[in-house]
């Protein structure tokens, strides 16, 4: 790996850390901008919790000191404080519970999207302008344009309510089928289109003509020369795709009642559970930033041309 690449990666890592710091800060100060403050402005907070908060954050101390205390707690101990609304639970525990479920959901959805997307996109590019290509393009355009919550609710309606094939509730393994499919649809459609246009682009390149002129067979050209080049843009989409899955899970988990971190986040907002809001926001944001960072790094590593430039 060239030093130029290493330097670039280092820059990206620093940017990512700065971003996370900014997110934490925005979250913190935004919460405290609420009239009455996030903790005291809410009624019905049990005295026990209030005590814990007081001890932790020193609620009458100057704002900036509260900020540094909070920051230190996170960075050193992963401690986000107690939940306001869920009695006796620490935010970090709630987060970890939800994270397990959500990660499982997301990884499977990503794998499905990648596998199907690559295959369908390649087929579409090789059978350009035929019926199957047009069909694939129409379907993917639809999926790419429909908001995820629309897809989710419609799928819920059709398969869970009307046809009753799968359970509507996402807590059981069988109940995970619908949320996984819903989550994978947008990235799958996107990857299909990306693969298709990338393949078409590659197939028109001069080096493909060279390979043909050398006498390479058709499968050799597609599988060897074309695919390796065509995959590059898809790999760079990896990061954004994973980031999408994180945000998409917010909606999907709500629709299908999946007990993941996305649902915890949304509920915390509507329920005004401020420590939980802060905690989930920071974790989710850090996840997204991490995904984007991974995507950037992969992009650099994959294309030898780019690392040269």
């Amino acid at each position: 790996m060239s030093s130029k690449t290493l330097f670039y990666i280092l820059k990206r890592v620093v940017l990512a850390l700065v971003t996370v710091l900014i997110v934490i800060s925005i979250t913190f100060f935004a919460m405290h901008a609420i009239p009455g403050g996030p903790f005291l402005g809410e009624k019905a907070v049990s005295p026990a919790v209030l005590e814990a908060l007081e001890a932790k954050y020193g609620l009458d101390k100057p704002l900036f000191e509260q900020y540094t205390t909070y920051l230190k707690g996170i960075v050193l101990d992963f401690d986000f404080g107690p939940s306001l609304k869920q009695r006796g639970m620490m935010v970090i525990d709630i987060i970890m519970d939800g994270l397990k479920t959500s990660i499982r959901l997301g990884v499977i959805a990503a794998a499905i999207a990648l596998a199907f997307g690559l295959v369908l996109g390649s087929i579409a590019s090789l059978r350009r302008n035929t019926l199957i290509d047009r069909f694939i393009m129409v379907v993917t355009t639809a999926f790419v344009s429909m908001p995820s919550f629309i897809m989710g609710t419609l799928l819920l309606l059709v398969f869970a309510v009307k046809l009753a094939i799968v359970p509507a509730n996402g807590s059981t393994p069988a109940g995970m089928i619908m949320p996984i499919i819903t989550l994978s649809l947008y990235p799958m459609a996107y990857i299909t289109r990306l693969t298709r246009s990338s393949m078409l682009d590659v197939l028109g390149q001069d080096y493909i003509r060279t390979a043909r002129a050398k006498g390479v067979s058709y499968p050799g050209i597609i599988g060897g020369h074309a695919l390796k080049n065509a995959i590059i843009p898809v790999i760079t989409y990896f990061g954004p795709m994973l980031a999408y899955i994180v945000t998409g899970s917010l909606v999907v988990e709500r629709i299908f009642a999946v007990p993941g971190i996305g649902r915890a986040f949304v509920n915390s907002i509507t329920g005004r559970d401020y420590p939980l809001i802060m905690g989930t926001t920071i974790i989710l944001a850090s996840l997204i930033v991490l995904m984007n960072l991974l995507g950037d790094i992969m992009y650099k590593l994959v294309d030898p041309r780019i690392s040269f430039e």
């Binding site: 940017l15 990512a16 700065v18 971003t19 900014i22 997110v23 925005i26 979250t27 935004a30 919460m31 901008a33 609420i34 009239p35 355009t141 639809a142 790419v144 344009s145 429909m146 908001p147 995820s148 919550f149 629309i150 609710t153 419609l154 819920l156 309606l157 309510v161 009307k162 980031a243 994180v246 945000t247 917010l250 909606v251 709500r254 629709i255 986040f265 949304v266 907002i269 509507t270 809001i277 926001t281 989710l284 944001a285 997204i288 930033v289 984007n292």
Partner: protein, 352 residues
């Protein structure tokens, strides 16, 4: 001398030199026209884009016109009359059903305007709520995109034109905002602004817009201008480079002509297309937030909030979910297809 069988019949006159007109006749030059006319022609040929355009125009027109003469308003709960007991017969009407008092009027010979989509659980005419929701979604999407365009245009132009340290600082800020996870921040800020703004707006002119929609605009203004700024800056930089190169070639007046004829329309069209594609994205975001409960204030409907409400009654009133779902999908899809069509028609780099 070789015997070359060159046998043919020739008209001796044919060996007279050809005139310039005769030659020109054979050379059919393809008509050249301006960049925009070319693009418009290409767009018109694109059937999908044209169809989408018609759909959008129809949707916009109906969302503007229909509420003007529709006898029901989006917030009017038909079963609630001041001073009288709440009449529950108006709630959850199926399409084309009527509440008790309405039925009575029909029996008496009056004609009552039908509830095409029935009513919701609070007795409000659903059709007009959907239409109004469309209006909200469209206007939010449109105005948010305009805000993004203006801010991005200004910042990007400054960065690109002045360059140097100013450019560097602005671009660092752009990088940081760009790497923030936007949906998350949007949700967070929406939640905060709801609460903080709500109180402050009472009594001001902005109250009618609603604190939620206002917070949406603020969020867009804060976060979404960055891609536009980058785009504008990139265009300005390439314009500067062309100018430099052209003047270095010392072609005099021709330099400015080329910039005006080719580069400027190119840049403008790229910016317009980007804005056009920003609109469905904004509508998407707005309905997403409304779905999560962070969008418009009740009782104002948004297609997203209507879909969210319908989730509760999904078992018995499935159509209440399907209708706003179709509406949003139609709007976003048509706008996307139109935007794609615009890009295909006006992007000179795309070779067909």
């Amino acid at each position: 001398m070789k015997k070359n069988p060159l046998s043919m019949h020739i008209d001796v006159d044919a060996f007279i030199p050809a005139t310039a007109e005769e030659k020109k006749y054979l050379v059919q030059m393809r008509e050249s026209s301006t960049f925009f006319r070319d693009g418009a022609r290409r767009l018109r040929k694109n059937k999908v884009a044209m169809f989408s355009l018609i759909v959008i125009v129809l949707i916009i027109l109906s969302s503007i016109i229909l509420p003007m003469f529709w006898p029901y308003s989006y917030e009017e709960q038909l079963g609630v009359r001041p001073g009288k007991r709440v009449d529950p017969s108006f709630n959850n009407l199926s399409p084309f059903e009527y509440g008790t008092t309405e039925q009575a009027r029909i029996d008496a010979g009056e004609s009552v305007f039908p509830h095409i989509f029935g009513t919701d659980s609070a007795g409000r005419d659903y059709f007009i709520r959907v239409v109004y929701g469309t209006r909200i979604s469209l206007s939010v999407g449109f105005f948010a995109s305009i805000i993004v365009l203006i801010i991005g245009l200004v910042v990007g132009s400054i960065a690109g034109y002045f360059g140097g340290k100013l450019d560097l600082i602005i671009m660092r800020i752009v990088d940081i905002i760009y790497s923030l996870p936007d949906t998350l921040m949007v949700i967070l800020l929406a939640a905060i602004l709801r609460v903080t703004l709500g109180n402050r707006l009472e009594g001001t002119a902005l109250e009618s817009i609603g604190s939620n929609i206002l917070s949406l605009f603020i969020i867009f203004a804060l976060l979404y201008w960055v891609s536009m700024a980058r785009l504008v800056r990139g265009q300005i930089l390439s314009l500067k480079e062309e100018e430099y190169v052209l003047s270095a070639k010392a072609t005099g007046a021709k330099g400015g002509w080329i910039i005006r004829k080719h580069l400027l329309p190119n840049s403008i069209s790229v910016i317009i297309i980007s804005t056009a594609l920003q609109i469905p994205s904004a509508i998407f975001t707005e309905s997403y937030l409304s779905f999560l409960g962070l969008g418009v204030n009740a009782p104002m409907p948004s297609l997203g909030s209507l879909a969210s409400d319908a989730l509760n009654g999904i078992n018995s009133y499935a159509y209440r979910l399907v209708i706003p779902a179709i509406a949003i999908s139609l709007i976003v899809l048509s706008l996307n297809l139109l935007g794609d069509g615009l890009r295909d028609a006006f992007d000179p780099k795309l070779n067909r």
